[in-house]
């Protein structure tokens, strides 16, 4: 599917294949990609996290405000930012795993609450970040690879390692298929769910931090709508909204790059600005449709036959 779409775009907008454009797509995709990686964990357990956008806002705003009032190093600000993100994750995980509230409702609540808390802290004014942060956003490792891409690659690698190469990672897939079956098989479902939501929270705040490093400030609308881009990137990358299926690499990475590539290509192909959301939505719909068709096909396969026809 990806190959097909890239060919279409290649024909419509050949410019999008220039090296600069590809680097741009990766660079801009990195913050959405990092959030999408976190989102993938939650989606794999069969849940969803709508609060990542608000999480980005609150964690970045807290870090920014603390930096304005106390002179702390950018690294300390980053740690603070990730801590706030982790708090989001813990609250979500507690409500989902222990209070057994539906993830959609829990995280929708956190989305609204988080935005409200953020607005209260900032008095809805934009928070500016010092140069020490913004210089990070444009720095390049060995003067070659932009840092956002390096961080993205690191996150992808760690997430891949966790999901594919640890017991806990495989158990997250099992929980996503069926919580009950996982419990019967001796899996600690609470541990899997906590891991997923907390990682999602941390990665969301990390993504927010990277985005801030590129933008230089946090305004009241920061992160709004990014939760849907993250979900779309994960789903485009083959992660099932029903849980239990999908992989970080290459799926989710390509999904995130693809979403950015679509918008860059639309710009370079000079498509009417008002059509962008429509076209992006059409791709997402297409991806979800494929997911649903796959599930229907699986259901058909698992239908039991009674007779053996000779």
């Amino acid at each position: 599917m990806f190959a097909l779409l890239f060919i279409i775009f290649g024909l419509v907008a050949p410019k999008s294949f220039h090296y600069q454009n590809i680097e741009n797509a990766f660079k801009q995709a990195s913050y959405i990609g990092i959030i999408a990686v976190g989102m993938t964990f939650v989606l794999l357990t069969g849940g969803i996290d709508l609060s990542v956008g608000s999480n980005m806002y609150v964690s970045a705003a807290v870090a920014g405000l603390v930096m304005q009032h106390y002179s702390i190093s950018p690294w300390f600000a980053l740690i603070l930012c990730l801590l706030v993100g982790a708090v989001f994750g813990v609250v979500n995980a507690f409500a989902v795993a222990k209070l057994k509230i539906m993830p959609f409702v829990v995280t929708l609540g956190m989305m609204v609450t988080g935005r409200g808390v953020g607005l209260m802290f900032t008095k809805s004014r934009a928070v500016n970040f010092p140069d020490s942060i913004t210089s990070l956003g444009f720095a390049e490792l060995f003067g070659l690879v932009p840092y956002p891409i390096v961080v993205f690659a690191g996150v992808v690698f760690c997430a891949w390692l966790l999901l594919e190469r640890t017991t806990l990672g495989r158990q997250i897939y099992a929980v996503g298929f069926s919580k009950e079956a996982a419990r019967k098989a001796g899996v600690s479902t609470d541990r899997a769910i906590f891991t997923a939501y907390v990682l999602c929270g941390i990665f969301a705040s990390l993504g927010g931090f990277i985005s801030v490093a590129q933008l230089g400030n946090v305004n009241a609308g920061f992160g709004r709508g990014d939760e849907f881009d993250a979900i779309a990137a994960a789903v485009l990358g083959g992660v099932s909204l029903f849980g239990g299926a999908g992989r970080i690499f290459p799926g989710v990475v390509l999904g995130a790059v693809f979403i950015q590539a679509v918008s860059i290509s639309l710009v370079s192909a000079r498509v009417d600005l008002y059509l962008h959301p429509l076209i992006a939505a059409a791709f997402i719909f297409f991806a979800v449709l494929i997911d649903s068709l796959r599930n229907m096909y699986l259901a058909k396969l698992s239908r039991r036959n009674i007779r053996v026809e000779e």
Binding site: T166, R170, G186
Partner: protein, 510 residues
């Protein structure tokens, strides 16, 4: 002196006041295989679920290897060395074989959290070869056949070094070759001195594999002893037993001559073959078959939930062969599903809403605007609730989920009555409800039959069918094997017909 592996001492268990097991007492010798048999609902699964830690017994004690054993969850049972190979397998089809084998603990590289891939591959390959399964360990389980999945589940049990293996109906979805393969594996485990509990309806298989037999009926142990003392005929007669007939109320009408439902030569590859029968007015027609015989699937085809490749189905002379469920309802056919929680009821909605759901169009007004006339809806629903004696608060307020199982089942039946069907298909209408509620459901069925409705009554409880039906068709392997007309109901012959056509059963036995 015999060494006992498992000793059940006066185990009792009841669900919501209905006894499922009473004072069950028997023991299993170490390294031997016990065949556990009984009709559906006799208590086999309940007993095994207690042993497997799914739920606790009310009274009595279990001793495992001579020590008192009381698991509080399935993981406790696993730790104690008991592996339960469930009828509906407990695998994750979205994961690979190797993931499934080690899901509760992968081998790790030293003390690091990372999975030791090389030893994983080796151990998984060794496990698969121990069950003679020749597939790549990385195959996703969703690509495997039911037989292969079963072997993976067994391999998983072996990886835990389980001392006791419980097989619950392992052969229902297997082909003949797969079954043979499974038996070889079981025999291999027997040689390795593992204790096995084998539950099956396939009595020939039980005889072939078991050193000892235990027969349960109505939650009580009927007999237990060495396998050589049992024959298929003895097992059937002990499973059926003798019981009183008063449970079933009598009907005041006799079967009419008009055929309401005609099924002619219905076939669907892999599901049913060449099914033909007629259902008359005032008739209660029983369909008996064991789990996996195709009885429920047949009902789904008749109602239009599934398709059929050949044959003709008609209700009151209207052809409904390839009609959708909605068209079937319009053609006076009604279907009370087996699984009332998932398919039959809206648990969160009120009694009234549930009753009126299939016939909402009857309660609309203002012509094409189709606004619901709530008071008329309530009036009719109240009448049904009264007729069926549904015990409930105000029916427009009371939520269905707060009612007892018997009353819920009455609603499932009742909701079709507003639509005044000519033919009613009931699939396991009394499953999971207590004796008193059963009696009321029987009364309801009789009342409907007396009003002229033709009833197709699917059940796996033979007792119930012989008490209620005018005629019983016996299904096995997707075909109708025999027909019995009241009063010539011989439970043993019916059971034999139901067991026929299953792998390993000799046809000349019936």
């Amino acid at each position: 002196m015999t060494e006992w592996e498992i000793e059940f001492d006066r185990i009792s268990k009841s669900f919501f006041g209905a006894p499922a097991l009473s004072e069950v007492n028997f023991s299993i010798e170490k390294g031997k295989t016990l065949g556990l048999i009984g009709e559906n609902g006799a208590g086999k699964s309940t007993l095994m679920n207690i042993l497997g830690g799914v739920f606790p017994q009310d009274e009595g004690t279990i001793r495992l290897f001579g020590k008192k054993y009381s698991p509080s969850c399935p993981a406790d049972a696993t730790d104690a060395g008991i592996a339960f190979i469930h009828q509906e397998l407990n695998l994750f089809p979205n994961l690979s074989v190797v993931d499934n084998l080690f899901i509760d603990g992968f081998p790790q590289i030293g003390k690091s959290p990372f999975i030791d891939k090389s030893s994983l591959q080796k151990r998984a390959a060794a496990l698969l070869s121990s069950v003679d399964l020749n597939i790549s360990v990385r195959t996703p389980v969703e690509m495997l056949s039911p037989g292969e999945r079963q072997l993976v589940e067994i391999a998983k049990a072996l990886s835990r070094d389980a001392r006791v293996l419980i097989f619950d109906e392992p052969t229902t979805s297997l082909t003949t070759t797969e079954r043979k393969h499974l038996f070889n594996i079981i025999k291999k485990s027997q040689q390795q001195d593992r204790t096995i509990i084998y539950i099956s309806h396939s009595l020939e298989d039980v005889l072939e594999l078991s050193d000892a037999i235990a027969v349960l009926r109505d939650g009580c142990l009927v007999s237990t002893g060495p396998g050589r003392e049992y024959s298929v005929d003895r097992m059937i007669s002990e499973m059926v037993g003798r019981r009183i007939e008063q449970m079933y109320p009598l009907r005041s009408t006799t079967v009419g001559s008009v055929a309401l439902l005609k099924v002619e030569g219905v076939s669907q590859p892999g599901i049913v073959r060449d099914i033909s029968f007629k259902l008359h007015e005032n008739e209660v027609l029983g369909i008996f078959g064991l789990l996996g015989s195709g009885r429920s699937e047949l009902a789904r085809i008749i109602f239009g939930l599934d398709s059929c490749r050949a044959g003709r189905i008609s209700v009151t002379e209207q052809d409904i062969t390839s009609s959708s469920p909605v068209e079937s309802i319009l053609n006076s056919l009604a279907f009370v599903t087996e699984n009332r929680h998932q398919e039959g009821l809206l648990m969160e909605a009120s009694v009234c809403e549930n009753l009126a759901l299939p016939s909402l169009r009857e309660f609309t007004r203002f012509g094409p605007a189709r606004i619901l006339n709530r008071s008329r809806m309530l009036e009719f629903s109240n009448r049904i609730a009264e007729t069926l004696r549904i015990k409930s608060g105000p029916i427009h307020k009371q939520k269905v989920k707060s009612l007892s199982g018997g009353n819920q089942q009455k609603i499932v039946i009742g909701k079709w009555l507003l639509a005044a069907p000519a033919v009613l298909i009931l699939d396991e209408p009394t499953r999971g409800i207590d004796i008193g509620a059963k009696y009321e459901v029987y009364g309801t069925i009789n009342k409907l039959a007396e009003e002229g409705i033709g009833i197709m009554y699917i059940s796996s409880e033979l007792e119930e069918l012989t008490g209620m039906c005018d005629r019983i068709l016996v299904m096995s392997n997707g075909e109708i094997r025999a027909e019995f007309v009241r009063p010539d109901f011989d439970q043993e012959k019916i059971l034999q017909a139901a067991f026929s056509g299953r792998a390993g059963y000799k046809a000349d036995n019936g």
